[in-house]
């Protein structure tokens, strides 16, 4: 890989330990994946924030980097393992909170914005069309590549951090236009009615196109929240973190549907629900907001929860970013949701909080949320927002 004089100097350690280690990582990855050079990036999203996943090893490395490492571009953070302010209310223990705060301190020292959300594009880290970025968090990577048309590989936490310290990333994979063309045509004939149908569609497409780029036709009407849910699901269940959707995503106009074609119909969507849903009636946990809920979704939750009470046997979370919660406070949604017995889980989510062993069953609108909850040994139910709210109120899935 070609390096400029300045990049050589960084590799030689002239800017300190964090930059040197970062350059070593970027050069190794560039060589492995055949990059010709490094390319400047506009922003970074760093995953690997929850102490639950990092452990002491991750914390130790982050502290080492924080000694002299400062990010060179706008850098935001994925969800942590807890609400950074109200962790006690969510049942997080003292020791976990102490360790999680040390992780956050290290990131803060590096100059990273403590955004703790998987939807950076909703809170001020919004790339533009064609912009090179280095993001981790697969749902956000898929959103940035597909819906916006920015360019990023699916980075891991450490490689995203390395890019942030250098301000560049090796130019391979999805940074190159030649690698962004679709491989498979996916025609959707299924009728999509509720929000969770988009998670189910993501499941169907992801499972069928395994590690390919789908070109999706047949979608005429979709909202940002539905795309956000689809992005999370399609990549969790197997596609590359990029899709084209005719008439919806910007790069779809550049391409024709490939010859290889699959059709997703109503029966596929039904089968997705059957695969995602377990056999259970009692629901002891309801979580909305995977990916993090937008202000529009929070408004819908508040509307459905007005003058109702969450069952005493059920924990009800709205997972979102702190800025969304602040908007919800001003609009009165927070009061409605909390009076009903619901809790806000800011800065964290059902995928990265230490939930193993705490709940037996979960109801959610999110296919990705179900996938990670099974890792936490929960039985899962995916359904519409109405169904999930009803499950929260009655403690039963019906």
């Amino acid at each position: 890989m070609y390096l400029t004089k300045n990049e050589e100097r960084m590799l030689d350690g002239e800017e300190g330990y964090a930059v040197k280690k970062s350059m070593e990582i970027l050069v190794a990855l560039g060589n492995i994946y055949g990059a010709e050079k490094l390319v400047k990036i506009g922003s970074v999203q760093v995953a690997g924030v929850s102490y639950h996943n990092l452990g002491d090893a991750g914390l130790e490395y982050l502290n080492e980097l924080a000694k002299d490492g400062k990010v060179k571009v706008l850098t935001t953070l994925n969800p942590a393992g807890m609400d950074l302010e109200n962790w006690r209310k969510l049942g997080i223990d003292e020791e976990f909170a102490r360790k999680q705060n040390l992780v956050i301190d290290a990131f803060r020292k590096m100059g990273i914005i403590i955004s703790c959300t998987c939807t950076p594009y909703l809170i001020g880290n919004l790339p533009i069309y064609g912009e090179h970025i280095a993001w981790s968090e697969s749902s956000a990577v898929t959103f940035a590549n597909s819906v916006i048309g920015a360019k990023t590989n699916r980075e891991g936490g450490p490689s995203a951090l390395a890019a942030a310290f250098v301000g560049k990333t090796p130019c391979y994979g999805l940074h190159l236009d030649t690698n962004r063309a679709p491989d498979t045509h996916v025609e959707v004939t299924a009728k999509l009615t509720t929000f969770s149908d988009w998670g189910a569609l993501g499941y169907c497409v992801g499972k069928q196109v395994q590690n390919k780029i789908p070109y999706i036709t047949g979608i005429n009407d979709v909202s940002l929240d539905e795309l956000k849910s689809f992005c999370a699901s399609v990549v969790t269940f197997g596609s590359k973190p990029l899709f084209h959707m005719k008439g919806i995503t910007p790069e779809s106009e550049k391409h024709q549907p490939p010859k290889e074609k699959i059709v997703i119909d109503d029966s596929d969507i039904r089968e997705a629900y059957e695969a995602i849903n377990d056999d259970t009636e009692d629901i002891d946990f309801v979580c909305i907001g995977c990916p993090h809920a937008s202000i529009k979704e929070i408004a819908e939750i508040a509307n459905l929860l007005k003058n109702r009470k969450i069952s005493p046997n059920t924990e009800f979370w709205v997972a979102t970013s702190r800025p969304m919660k602040q908007l919800a406070d001003k609009r009165g949604y927070t009061r409605i949701i909390e009076e009903a017995g619901g809790k806000f889980a800011c800065d964290t989510c059902m995928a990265v909080a230490p939930l193993k062993g705490r709940f037996r069953t979960v109801a959610t609108t999110s296919a990705k949320g179900c996938y990670y909850s099974r890792h936490n040994n929960m039985l899962t139910k995916m359904g519409s927002l109405e169904e999930c709210i009803n499950a929260g109120v009655s403690g039963k899935w019906s």
Partner: protein
């Protein structure tokens, strides 16, 4: 016998080879305290990788696995070196931040468990 590879992480290492034909996931698949391979059904399940030249085709699993290698190193139970057929992100990053010598693009079928192996400047020397 000498095998020429590609340097992923610099350095010199020598030790007894521990080889597998199966990919390794470090996050969840290796105990960061004891260096024991935990993955159920893995060829190396129950084996400790401390001080070994660990030879496997490629890495797999969560990128948090890079930090597991770092923790092994800090705890003094890391492998002495790593040889892959095709290195990927998790192992490359883990080897670099932990300063564990690592080479790839090596015909790993030539190396047997128990061989004494040396890694230096991208060259793997096998002393039976």
């Amino acid at each position: 016998m000498e095998l020429k590879g590609r340097i992923i992480s610099k350095g010199i290492a020598e030790g007894e080879a521990l080889t597998t034909t199966q990919p390794i996931s470090f996050y969840g698949g290796v105990d960061p305290e004891t260096s024991e391979i935990l993955e159920k059904g893995h060829e190396l399940q129950g084996k400790r990788i401390k001080g070994k030249i660990l030879v496997f085709p490629t890495g797999k699993g969560s990128t948090v696995g890079s930090y597991t290698l770092y923790r092994l190193k800090k705890g003094g139970v890391a492998p002495a070196g790593i040889i892959n057929r095709e290195c990927e992100t998790v192992v490359a990053v883990g080897a670099i931040i932990s300063e564990i010598p690592c080479v790839d693009e090596v015909d790993i079928s030539q190396i047997k468990t128990g061989d004494t192996v040396r890694i230096e400047n991208g060259v793997v020397t096998i002393k039976k």
